[in-house]
Symmetry: C2
Subunit: 565 residues, 2 copies
Amino acid sequence: MPTLRIALCQIDIIVGALDHNADLIIEALTQAEAADCDLAVFGELSICGYPPEDLLYKPRFIADNKAALARVAAATGNCAVIVGYADRDPENPELIYNRAAICAGGEVKGSFTKQALPNYNVFDEKRYFTPGSDFPLWSIAGVNVGVAICEDLWIADGPCKALADGGAQIIVNINASPYHKDKVEERDAMLDDRFAECATPIAYVNLVGGQDELVFDGASVVVDVNGEIIARAGQFVEQVQIADFAVTDRKPVTLPLTEVTNRASQSRAGLPPVLEPLLDPLEEIWAALVLGVKDYVNNNGFTEVCFGLSGGIDSAITACLAADAFGPENVHAVMMPSRYSSNHSVSDSEKLVQNLGIDGRVVPIEAAHHGFMDMLTPSLGTEPWGLTEENLQSRIRGVVLMALANKFGWLVLTTGNKSETAVGYSTLYGDTAGAYAVIKDIWKLQVYELSRDYNRRAGREIIPENILTKAPSAELRPDQRDDQSLPPYEELDPMLIQLVEQNRTAHDLIEAGGDEAVVRRIARLVDIAEFKRQQSPLGTRISKRAFGKDRRMPITNLYRGGSSS
Amino acid sequence: MPTLRIALCQIDIIVGALDHNADLIIEALTQAEAADCDLAVFGELSICGYPPEDLLYKPRFIADNKAALARVAAATGNCAVIVGYADRDPENPELIYNRAAICAGGEVKGSFTKQALPNYNVFDEKRYFTPGSDFPLWSIAGVNVGVAICEDLWIADGPCKALADGGAQIIVNINASPYHKDKVEERDAMLDDRFAECATPIAYVNLVGGQDELVFDGASVVVDVNGEIIARAGQFVEQVQIADFAVTDRKPVTLPLTEVTNRASQSRAGLPPVLEPLLDPLEEIWAALVLGVKDYVNNNGFTEVCFGLSGGIDSAITACLAADAFGPENVHAVMMPSRYSSNHSVSDSEKLVQNLGIDGRVVPIEAAHHGFMDMLTPSLGTEPWGLTEENLQSRIRGVVLMALANKFGWLVLTTGNKSETAVGYSTLYGDTAGAYAVIKDIWKLQVYELSRDYNRRAGREIIPENILTKAPSAELRPDQRDDQSLPPYEELDPMLIQLVEQNRTAHDLIEAGGDEAVVRRIARLVDIAEFKRQQSPLGTRISKRAFGKDRRMPITNLYRGGSSS
């Protein structure tokens, strides 16, 4: 059987960093050449980054990304490169393509144009790209290779079948496949289906790294001639993983075939396949959260972060994630007690600060609280201000964090979880003030699970037990507790998952036995919090339906979820 | 020649307000029936509102919108109704359609499915809808009517040509066509083209009203059998405009034809055609801004608004727009002088308050400013804080406005213009704090034009001359002026228009003769302000490329506009 040595190059490219990305690609190519590879494969749109969004509308951006591609091509020799880039039609420059370039011997030998353009969930590819319709094959080191891009591989009886039927001995699929929980299992099932259909090995290469709300998990794989996964790169790590494997015997070729390289590569000693172990489910989410915030902060030019540490579980887990992502020396936790803060809020926080070895500082907010009360009394009167005063405290804290961040060049992280974000249990310009919402897509019950698992993996109580067990409270008035205004999270989270992630409405939940008054109230909170969410920071997408590009809701929306509302 | 009496029903429907929308439709139908119309036509997705966005993914939402449609259909008699609604495929509920229902005699007689689905600019229709492929005709009062939806009409040699060739004596086109500057001229040119191609009269009905960042301008028209526009409804007003007009003589019918109503209607006395005059260009923008903010505020349940009145032109024009939209009695202007405010900032503002008859109140921010300085000195030191202190003042003002809004149930408007929004000349959680950015899509030079035109139309100096002539300043430090850190707006605005609206990059502007240092700095400001824009409030779209759904940029973006950057 003919064999091929492929380098699966999962690298952490950055949107718009054309030269930087080309440098990373050439560096990985050098490794692949040193290992005597026939082919080095890079992810979808690796030259320009994914998703480039409206940068694609700038003609110069596409021209510059093609110049970067030319530089990559010029660096190729006998080891072929397959790499994603953006292109436009020379005849009709309105038409933009998502392409894979096939390069070797110092030049671009040709390209494949993506056919299946996802335009759902977080994807907007039909906004930008015109689909291709050609099925070229490429002869690389004596093997006939079919190339496809991301979604192309997910289509039954689609591009991959056409390539396999037309003579491909292997399908090389380049991806920008964003992580969500259980995505690895979905991919593996899809690869099984595609192999069953095509009976051809598949090399699947994914990007790795964070890009705004998305995080790419890597986990590139090779499916061999028997349909088995014989190589897998790590999750959430940059890696050039080299795999030797047999391809199908030569088949009759009915598609146009271009010779790329002609080296016969059969004399090498074979390499043993490497299968990096998969992370366990909670560790996987943790790794996604760490990489998501790390790349956002670093790629935007920041190294240090700060956030409010309240004594609650959400800011505690944020502190742990930040320490993992940036190192404790770059993490500043700010405790901002008010006249309503409990005694334990600072003492629990200080324990955590000590356990993590991060910088902790206390800025009591009484002076500003008092100043505002004085200043606003002529307008608001002397009666208790209720919610207005609660929001005031939260906003003072937001101002403090922003002042520290402005002065010291830190980036502010926010600490709200998905349950809070769903019901708007937050203060706009207060605790939502910041550049990145680390646990925005983590439900409150998951926050507890992840926190306990973190302590377990550490083998010690990094997050103090009192933080894990105290009743959730915003501490914005005396003796406030979340469960005074919300159902317990054991009831709330499942309800929210249906409303937010599963397209159910209030009436659906009531029909299924939900308490009418509670369901109506919670569903209404979710709807009216849309204006807050649209002004809140990004956060790493972990679920299949995150708040962000995934879920596009009108703010002005009078739908109340059906019947009798 | 056969004639038809059509009611062009441009009504201000609300997304999700299914019952409310159905009520408005039935009310307009009643008017059409009273006027002995053959047909009442309503805009695209009038039943559910446009754009419903991810509400369409909720099966119950579509079911409920069909129930509202059934109620409309039940109200029909001899006057047929053509109205937009959302539907799903009974066989394959994943498939969602954008449809026009044709109703009469108490029932839905059939439907047309939109074929051309826009997925550019602000549109995401390929995210939701499956295109139709059938061309039904409808016999209404003896006339063979072809129905099409919005974009269908913009396609050369597309659905309308097929309908005309297949026997349609008139094309009825239902629209949700959002306003932008010069849109009326674009539409009229398109109607000319389509008439030239189809030689068939066209009844074009648009929605009217604001929906988040979009505003629909109405201006529904009838193109007669000679290609002339013989009827036009007003811009930015709800109207049931009734038009009598001849259609083409009966042609051979090759498409499937369904009888809807059979009333022969030739005995009526003819109505003279009504052509509402078009607004002049500045008045048109003014009307769009007023309707945009009015519908946003009212449809979200608010009646009163507040904002910071600084003594500058941006907050002055916002005050005038708010007074027009809500009546002066519902407008609260808050003057918040700081230790750095000029003497004229409050006196000019007070003049404007008096001229408009709005509520004005002064809340000096010194107490909170002082409180924060005291509170933060241990962390930030006693040296001047520079930008940190400037942002602090702006954020204190944001907190004051939110406190007033929370306490009194007002909605906070922001006052930033498009030039500031482009370069990030604003403080996040400070002057960007609020629910709606009234002039977000108005360049600074346009702000001056609109302001002078407002005074001119009023016939008196409502906006004090001193506000129109003083040098723009944020007054966040002594003697600060915009032109200390930005080029004069006469240079800045044209540069920004190219960078923001025309897909040019820094290198393009330098090649065209721009000063390298200035261009690079401004282009960089535009790029790095993306994080601020994504947390800033919505505002009415006026240009063809507004900040919002129109312009989707990554925050993490290392592209610097080409060569040598």
